[in-house]
């Protein structure tokens, strides 16, 4: 790999091998086989699991079917988090494939949002993109786009069309030549150890002295607990898209290359695996 453009491709085409199993208490007419699928890391669970739904519905009675939801090791999976983020946060240290339990009953109302249709995913996705552009360009770029451009972003994600998506998304990744980066970096930091869903603050890619801010600078500023004490070794992994970028990596570069399609850097802080 020689060029930064290739990073975009690798990020987009990241896949997680997943094994879907029906929850044991679900009532079936016959035994449900597990279902194996390669899930796109950058997409959303409810967007790419039509096949899973169909597969398990075949063995169930029509009256037992209500809204589908997923669970991993007891944790309901939020469909509005990108798949890669869910995996990094909850399952990155376990063996592949990722074992997800499929539920059709007892929707956990307090943990999950309902996902009545793909329109709900689209609305959520577009609102993230808009929020990100508000941070990056005071919404100027997204507002200058036409409706069809917005549609193309969404269709690109839905149909897993890298070119279609990036033909538009690259405009969201541009910044004025006289600046050294975006106004603020759209990021969210997730920790399994805290109650708070995620940390999101205003953070500029360039410091007042003109130096580019790094991933380490960001963490020191917004969640200092993550950083290792001077002497001790770090107790956490900082993970994006299943990799651990060095803390010296400039944040602006990360934002341009390792953001999810919703234009946010979703950063997982997970405990260092003990082995």
């Amino acid at each position: 790999m020689t060029d930064d453009k290739d990073v975009l491709r690798d990020v987009w085409f990241g896949r997680i091998p997943t094994c879907f199993t029906l929850y044991q208490d679900e009532i079936t007419e016959r035994e449900a086989e597990p279902y194996y699928l390669l899930l796109p890391r950058v997409s959303y669970l409810t967007l790419v699991t039509d096949k899973v739904k169909k597969h398990f519905q075949k063995v169930m009675r029509q009256e037992d079917i209500s809204e589908i939801w997923f669970e991993y090791e007891g944790t309901p999976l939020k469909w509005h988090y990108p798949i890669g983020l869910l995996f990094d946060l909850l399952a990155s240290s376990s063996a592949l494939p990722w074992n997800i339990i499929v539920h059709f009953k007892s929707f956990p109302e307090k943990d999950l949002l309902h996902c009545p249709s793909k329109d709900a995913i689209e609305a959520h996705f577009m609102s993230c993109v808009k929020e990100a552009d508000a941070l990056k360009h005071k919404s100027q770029v997204i507002n200058e786009m036409q409706k069809k451009d917005h549609k193309q972003l969404w269709m690109g994600l839905q149909n897993d069309r890298f070119d279609q998506f990036w033909a538009i998304n690259r405009k969201l990744m541009e910044y004025p030549a006289e600046e050294n980066g975006f106004r603020y970096i759209p990021f969210r930091i997730y920790q399994t150890t805290t109650e708070r869903p995620f940390i999101q603050k205003l953070f500029r890619p360039v410091a007042a002295d003109g130096q580019l801010q790094t991933l380490g600078d960001l963490l020191r500023e917004v969640c200092p607990s993550v950083m290792a004490p001077e002497d001790g070794e770090r107790k956490n992994q900082v993970m994006i898209h299943g990799i651990e970028p060095m803390l010296e990596t400039p944040l602006q570069w990360l934002s341009e290359h390792l953001s999810y399609p919703d234009n946010f850097l979703h950063i997982s802080i997970i405990p260092q695996p003990t082995d």
């Binding site: 290739d6 990073v7 896949r15 279609q164 580019l212 898209h241 400039p250």
Partner: protein, 1172 residues
């Protein structure tokens, strides 16, 4: 933009330079002397030292300054001894100059100054009018003086031959005294001021300067004959002035202003290319009667001045036609001097604190700029001042008129007692135009701000030096300026051009006083000690060699700690940019992740099935049959993904003709090239398939905006590349080509492109575009690619791809840099003679337009002529082009008997029409995978083709031979070029007896070249280890090869063994009889006509750009063609295979050493006339 330097002199007379790319003042390499004046040009700096002598500092350059001395040996035939040195008493000297009037023995020719050295001994010039004489250089005639011929005839009574010897200027990066021996009687008094300029008056090569000086007695002197080959000039000549001059300034073009003792300015009128000394003086009165002018500085179309009260003035309305300008405008700031440099940028030296200021915001539309900004660059090393007390005397003495009371400043300089680092405030514009009745608000505002300055002064104390404790105290005692004093500050800005935006600044701007304090805050009062610490006190600045363009990033104004990553990527190193550890680590981890998460699970089903994707839009399509116009069409691009993941796409174009809906489609895997066609009005592109290439009939589509076109181009080219599985940077074997619009295309050669049988037809080659703008591009199979722009700038390929209109995914993000190019647009002014009024712009009714293009067919007026496309903008005004072929008279006219005819540069009785060429420069800024190779501009370049069989040089560091011809005609060899360092390190100059035009190096280090006079040369014994010359004295010389009869050669290209040359009339010639023992060959053999560029590759494959190729639907100028049937035993080939065309200008196949069948190369080994 290569770095250039600003020159300055400090109060001690030490000369420093500050690079536009740097942030430190560097002490001049030659520190022997103290100076009181410097005046810089791009390549040199003139100065007056403390000994009152004039010195010249030539900057080091890879191309030497060499000058040819000639002498003629004359002989007469007599019956006794044949030709001998005994001449008749009436004859010329046996050794003479060309006219025969001057006696010129070889040992009597002396070097003009100690700074010259002889390059070699005298030798006989064998070259006679482009033809070798082969008779010891003798030329024969009936008598002196007469017409000489090569051949001896029965009536040849006299003969002569030319001896030549080169001398070289050897003083580089050092001050060389300008000899003044013959001027002693005319120069009784020493010089007081000096200024160089005038390099834009003529088209002469860089080096011609107007050097003007003022003596202490107030006389003005001009240095004669300063040129590239004579950097020292020849003598001083006096120019009478109506008053006593004290200071002088010469602009880059035709402005010359002089300050008079009485305070007026003198302006020289009548300076032009024929008369660089001008003809008369005009007087310009100072802005006010009480304060005369103390200092002036002239640019191209501006003049700045300082009056005796240190106020700065801008002269409005100055240009070539009105060198005096119209009126004075007062500017903010108090300066001791100002200097206008390149691009009319301005520097000054503050009158109190002696800092160098740069005028920010000077643009062609706003020549007066916006604000003064102090340059805070430090000096490269904290030089000890211990030795400087000796120089102090001279400093005090020679800067007496500038240092107010030298005794006041000088002692404290050496004491270094109070070392206060001064704040370097930015002098921002005042809030609103102030008149003499000052706004009380301002003076009130100044008080508290002043206090703030004192604070920041103490904060800014330099912590490094040891003796700084005392400084704290002195800061404490430094009196803050009382508010009343501030109110008395003498600034009366009535600078109308200054921005007026900040009315709230003084009221609200306290928080930012450190960076935005205004001029009045500078502590006044001479009793304040001058700090002699690490902030130098400047006496003089010269920006004549310093190219700052609008928008360029200078690092002079902030003290920077470290390099930010963005700065690193901008550095000029061509080493792979992706070296940062974090980046490599991300690449590596992503690869590992893919392996981990995907390797064992490829049999899993994909969650999202790939489907057909359609992009639709509206474009315009050129309907090439009736009604022959652009019609609106709807287009749709449908992409499919096959089972193997490969993409395929179809472009549908829906149109309506005669109210009937129709469509046609193009399979993108059949598209061979997409060419942007930008003109004044349309953003269009042409799409070729092999069939359409044969027909010379592309699909032409246009978008409404440039952005829209770029989007479509990016998408279509990406689809084309995907369907052909082409991605990333081109391979080292790629074939490169350039269109007449400067667009760069590259094609991946398939192995059967050069196969013996089953050749891939040329029209099936797929070309994709690279960003950038070039005229020439040359490559070799190790991935070294060089280009030359229209402005002769040399560029090296960085390894990126995309850029320009190839944006988005088809472009790499790294290795893409800004690139600019400049070319001239020419129009002709045509006139006809009539007996009553002479030449007028009234022609015959049948005549061409009185303002036309070169052909006379199109009307082109100055007002109506636009830049070639919307990408180009004008960067100069119209000027007469004197450098047209055929020569011109003093006003640029060329004469002929009638239109159209051959033109000559003088009027004869038979001439009834005349024309002259007006040119205007335009500039394009784009980006692409190219970095500039400064500083030498090139005319041609050639990189050694390497054959795949070549066993040596497996190392990536192995040296690659690269030869070039500079735009001045010097032959150069680049040292240190390798796969890892394609830019190389430096140029080695190879002497020639005349300017060259083209050079080519073959796979076995055969170097061939063509001189500007059309003759060919072969350079002997070039080897890998010694790329240039083996022996410096006798040298391996150029062997003169006679041209084909009556033809002037233009270009040469050497492959493995084949040598091809091209003449001015489009004939392609093969050099026959080339053998290892006789590499010069024996004769030129005609191969083809209708050729305008040739490229011979490492397989001896021959590719050309043909002038006109007929297709079924049209004629195509500039077509890529391959010679077919080229075989070791038949190196001339048999016929042509036609490829892409319609405006192609250049091709290089010299990187393509891939051949399909193995036995072919073995056969070649066995039979080929390999001369290695």
């Amino acid at each position: 933009m290569p770095a250039s330097v600003l020159w300055a002199v400090d109060l001690f007379g030490r000369v420093y330079t500050l690079s536009t790319a740097g942030q430190y003042w560097e002490l001049c390499k030659d520190t022997q002397l103290e100076f009181k004046r410097v005046s810089a040009a791009t390549q040199c700096c003139w100065g007056i030292a403390c000994d009152n002598q004039v010195y010249l500092y030539m900057c080091a350059s890879d191309v030497s300054i060499r000058c040819r001395e000639e002498a003629y040996e004359n002989q007469r035939w007599n019956p006794m001894g044949g030709f001998c040195e005994k001449l008749l008493p009436s004859d010329r000297w046996p050794w003479s100059d060309v006219s025969g009037l001057q006696h010129r023995p070889l040992d009597g020719v002396a070097l003009p100054s100690p700074y010259w050295e002889w390059e070699s001994d005298w030798y006989v010039d064998e070259n006679f009018g482009g033809e070798p004489t082969e008779k010891g250089g003798w030329t024969y005639a009936i008598d002196f003086p007469a017409t000489y011929t090569r051949d001896k005839r029965w009536n040849s009574c006299v003969r002569r031959r030319k001896w030549i010897r080169y001398r070289r200027y050897k003083s580089r990066d050092a001050w060389a005294k300008i000899p003044s021996k013959d001027d002693l009687k005319d120069l009784p008094d020493p010089f007081n001021d000096l200024s160089v300029g005038g390099w834009e008056i003529t088209e002469e090569p860089v080096g011609r300067l107007s050097v003007w000086a003022v003596s202490l007695q107030g006389k003005v002197w001009y240095r004669e004959d300063v040129s590239h080959s004579n950097p020292e000039g020849s003598s001083w000549s006096l120019v009478d002035t109506p008053g006593e001059a004290v200071q002088i300034s010469c602009g880059p073009h035709d402005l010359l202003w002089v300050t008079l003792w009485e305070g007026q300015a003198l302006v020289r009128e009548g300076i032009n290319r024929n008369n660089p000394k001008g003809s008369s003086w005009s007087i310009v009165e100072p802005p006010g009667s009480e304060n005369g002018i103390m200092h002036v500085s002239a640019g191209v179309s501006v003049v700045w001045a300082v009056t005796k009260d240190r106020k700065v003035w801008f002269r409005r309305g100055v240009n070539s036609h009105n060198p005096c300008g119209t009126s004075w405008i007062e500017m903010v700031g108090e300066m001791t001097m100002v200097n206008v440099g390149l691009n009319d940028q301005v520097w000054g030296i503050g009158s109190e604190e002696r800092a160098v200021y740069f005028r920010q915001g000077v643009t062609p539309s706003e020549l007066s700029g916006k604000t003064w900004k102090a340059i805070v660059a430090g000096r490269e090393s904290d030089r000890s001042h211990s030795g400087s007390s000796s120089s102090l005397l001279s400093a005090g003495c020679f800067f007496g008129d500038e240092v107010k009371g030298g005794s006041e400043s000088a002692p404290s300089d050496t004491d270094a007692a109070a070392e206060v680092e001064r704040p370097r405030p930015e002098w921002s514009a005042p809030e609103e135009p102030l008149d003499n009745s000052r706004d009380p608000k301002d003076s009130a505002a100044l008080g508290p701000e002043t206090g703030g300055t004192a604070e920041c002064a103490s904060e800014n104390l330099c912590p490094d030096a040891g003796a700084r404790e005392a400084a704290q105290a002195s800061v404490g005692s430094a009196r803050p300026l009382p508010a009343s004093a501030a109110a008395e500050l003498p600034w009366t800005s009535i600078d109308l051009k200054e921005p007026r935006k900040i009315p709230s600044h003084s009221a609200a701007g306290f928080a930012e006083t450190t960076s935005h304090s205004s001029l009045g805050l500078l502590p006044l009062g001479l009793d304040e000690p001058y700090g002699a610490d690490d902030h130098p006190l400047w006496a003089w600045v010269s920006g004549g060699g310093c190219a700052v363009e609008a928008g360029s990033m200078l690092k002079w104004f902030t003290v920077q700690s470290g390099l930010s990553p963005s700065v690193q990527t901008l550095s000029l190193s061509i080493s792979p940019a992706q070296t940062a550890t974090w980046r490599k680590q991300i690449f590596q981890q992503l690869t590992e992740r893919t392996k981990r998460e995907l390797e064992n699970f490829r049999h899993y089903e994909q969650a999202v099935e790939q489907s057909v994707w359609v992009k639709t839009g509206t474009l315009q399509w050129w309907c090439d049959w009736k009604p022959h116009k652009w019609v609106d069409v709807r287009v749709a691009l449908e992409q499919f993904t096959g089972h193997d993941g490969a993409r395929d796409s179809i472009l549908f174009v829906y149109y309506i003709v005669h109210e009937e809906k129709k469509y046609f489609h193009v399979f993108l895997n059949e598209v061979t090239v997409l060419v942007p066609v930008l003109n004044e009005a349309k953003h269009s592109f042409a799409l070729y398939t092999p069939e359409r290439t044969r027909q010379r009939w592309p699909v032409r589509l246009a978008a409404t905006t440039e952005q829209d076109m770029n989007d479509w181009l990016a998408l279509l080219s990406l689809s084309c590349c995907e369907s052909r599985k082409i991605h990333g940077r081109p391979s080292p074997q790629a074939v490169w080509s350039v269109t007449c619009k400067g667009d760069i295309f590259v094609s991946e050669p398939s192995p059967d492109l050069e196969a013996q049988d089953h050749l891939l037809p040329c029209d099936q080659m797929f070309w994709r575009q690279m960003g950038g703008h070039l005229r020439v591009v040359e490559a070799n199979s190790r991935g070294v690619v060089w280009g030359i722009g229209y402005d002769h700038t040399a560029w090296v390929y960085t390894g990126g791809y995309g850029g320009g209109c190839v944006q988005g995914l088809a472009s790499s993000t790294s290795n893409i840099y800004t690139q600019s190019d400049v070319k001239s647009v020419c129009i002709y002014e045509n006139q006809r003679w009539n007996p009553v009024t002479g030449y007028t712009s009234r022609g015959l009714p049948t005549d061409r337009y009185m303002w036309s293009d070169a052909s006379g067919l199109q009307e082109c007026t100055k007002a109506s002529t636009k830049p070639p496309s919307l990408q180009w903008t004008w960067v100069s005004d119209w000027y007469v082009d004197f450098s047209v072929p055929g020569g011109t008279d003093q006003e640029g006219w060329q004469y002929a008997s009638d239109f159209p005819a051959s033109y000559h540069g003088y009027k004869t009785m038979k001439d009834f029409v005349r024309r002259r060429c007006w040119a205007r420069k335009c500039k394009l800024v784009t980006n692409g995978p190219w970095l500039e190779v400064a500083p030498i501009a090139l005319g041609d370049v050639s990189i050694i083709p390497e054959s795949p069989e070549n066993p040596e040089g497996d190392g990536r560091g192995h040296n690659i031979a690269l030869w070039a011809v500079s735009d001045k005609g010097d032959v150069l060899c680049r040292l240190g070029v390798s796969e890892l360092n394609p830019v190389g390190s430096s140029w080695l100059h190879i002497g020639t007896d005349q300017p060259f035009a083209s050079v080519s190096i073959g796979a076995c280090y055969q170097v061939w070249a063509v001189a500007r006079d059309g003759s060919a040369f072969y350079r002997g014994s070039v080897s890998p280890s010694q790329p240039a010359v083996s022996c410096p004295v006798t040298g391996d010389c150029w062997y003169h090869i006679p041209s084909p009869p009556k033809q002037r050669l233009m270009q040469v290209s050497v492959g493995q063994t084949s040598v091809y040359a091209l003449d001015e009339n489009g004939n392609l010639w093969y050099r026959g009889g080339v053998t290892p023992s006789y590499p010069q060959g024996s004769s030129w053999e005609h191969v083809s006509n209708n050729v305008r560029r040739v490229s011979v590759g490492p397989l001896d494959q021959v590719w050309v750009i043909a002038n006109k190729v007929q297709g079924t639907h049209g004629l195509s100028r500039g077509t890529v063609c391959r010679r077919t049937g080229v075989q070791p035993r038949e190196p001339k080939g048999q016929g042509w295979d036609y490829g892409i065309g319609g405006g192609w200008d250049h091709i290089s196949v010299r990187a393509n050493a891939t051949r399909a069948s193995r036995n072919v190369s073995q056969e070649q080994k066995a039979h080929g006339p390999v001369s290695c």
